[in-house]
């Protein structure tokens, strides 16, 4: 088996592990592979000595299972130097601040449109009821009154559609933004 194939299989089998841990395993095997190449061994010999990827993965995963609650929880977070910290904060701001602001602005505007829809619905309903009464009082014909009731119902319907559509949009945009932010926050642990 070629090293690339072996490595691919191992990585696939180590999927349950966090990204950083998988990288650490890969670095370990790459280092030993290079050392063995330097000592004069061939690719095939080295891969044969490494054994089946299934066995290697099983050993690592079973060990990880035993200490998963301790090691990954207790692992000290990487310490960054001041320059690295400033770089990370600036990079984070440049990358994610505009996106976050855009997402929140959209949520807010969609929410406002949805609320306006509610107001339009209420106004439409009021117009539907008030138009015939006002028409009767001011002595307008029945046809004008009916036309105004129709107009009121139309406005009411448009308001309902507007509020419902934008309420759904606001809701899913908010859920999406929350998921994206949670994902980005979780990624910091792999740094």
């Amino acid at each position: 088996m070629k090293k690339k194939t072996w490595e691919k299989q191992l990585i696939k089998l180590l999927k349950p592990l966090p990204y950083a841990e998988r990288q650490s395993v890969l670095n370990y095997y790459n280092e030993i592979y290079s050392d063995k190449i330097e000592s004069g061994m061939t690719e095939e010999e080295i891969i044969a000595e490494f054994g089946f990827p299934e066995d290697c993965a099983q050993r690592i995963l079973s060990e990880n299972g035993e200490r998963s609650s301790t090691v990954f929880a207790k692992r000290e977070p990487r310490r960054f130097s001041l320059a690295e910290m400033i770089g990370l904060i600036l990079g984070g701001l440049i990358l994610f601040l505009p996106l976050t602001i855009t997402a929140f602005s959209l949520i807010l505007s969609f929410g406002v449109v949805s609320l306006s829809g509610v107001i339009v619905t209420v106004c439409g309903a009021f117009y539907t009821v008030a138009a015939p009464i006002f028409g009767a009082v001011t002595g307008h014909s029945a046809a004008v009154c009916i036309a105004n009731v129709g107009l009121g119902i139309t406005v009411c319907g448009v308001g309902l559609i507007l509020s419902a559509v934008f309420f759904i949009l606001t809701k899913y945009l908010a859920i999406g933004t929350k998921k994206a932010l949670t994902f980005l926050y979780a990624q910091r642990s792999t740094l």
Partner: protein, 104 residues
């Protein structure tokens, strides 16, 4: 050999291999080869376990244009070796007693 006993034994063997000076994966395996067979896939979990237990510290250094990870023993690691030797001495006493009892 009992799995738990072997696990403990391998841990101490790895610690012993880096007691005098810091070492790296391939060298640890090669140094231990005359005494105990240890494969790459066995060594990795041991090193991770020892590191998370504070028995070894690591650092990366450049070697032939690539990075190599070096492991060095800590006070915790040295204490583990001493404890192991102490346990083995106690085992020896018990083993002698068992052997004598066998002869009777």
């Amino acid at each position: 050999m009992d799995a738990q006993l072997k696990k403990g034994l391998l841990d101490v063997c790895v610690l012993a291999a880096i007691r005098k000076e810091e070492s790296y994966g391939y060298k640890i395996i090669s140094d231990l080869a005359p005494y105990i067979e240890i494969s790459e896939s066995t060594l990795y979990p041991i090193l991770r376990r020892l590191e998370s237990g504070g028995a070894v510290k690591t650092r990366c250094s450049e070697h032939n244009g690539r990075l190599r990870r070096y492991f060095r023993i800590t006070q915790v690691g040295l204490k583990r070796i001493d404890e192991f030797i102490e346990t083995m001495e106690q085992f020896k006493v018990i083993s002698d007693f068992i052997a004598q009892g066998d002869r009777k």
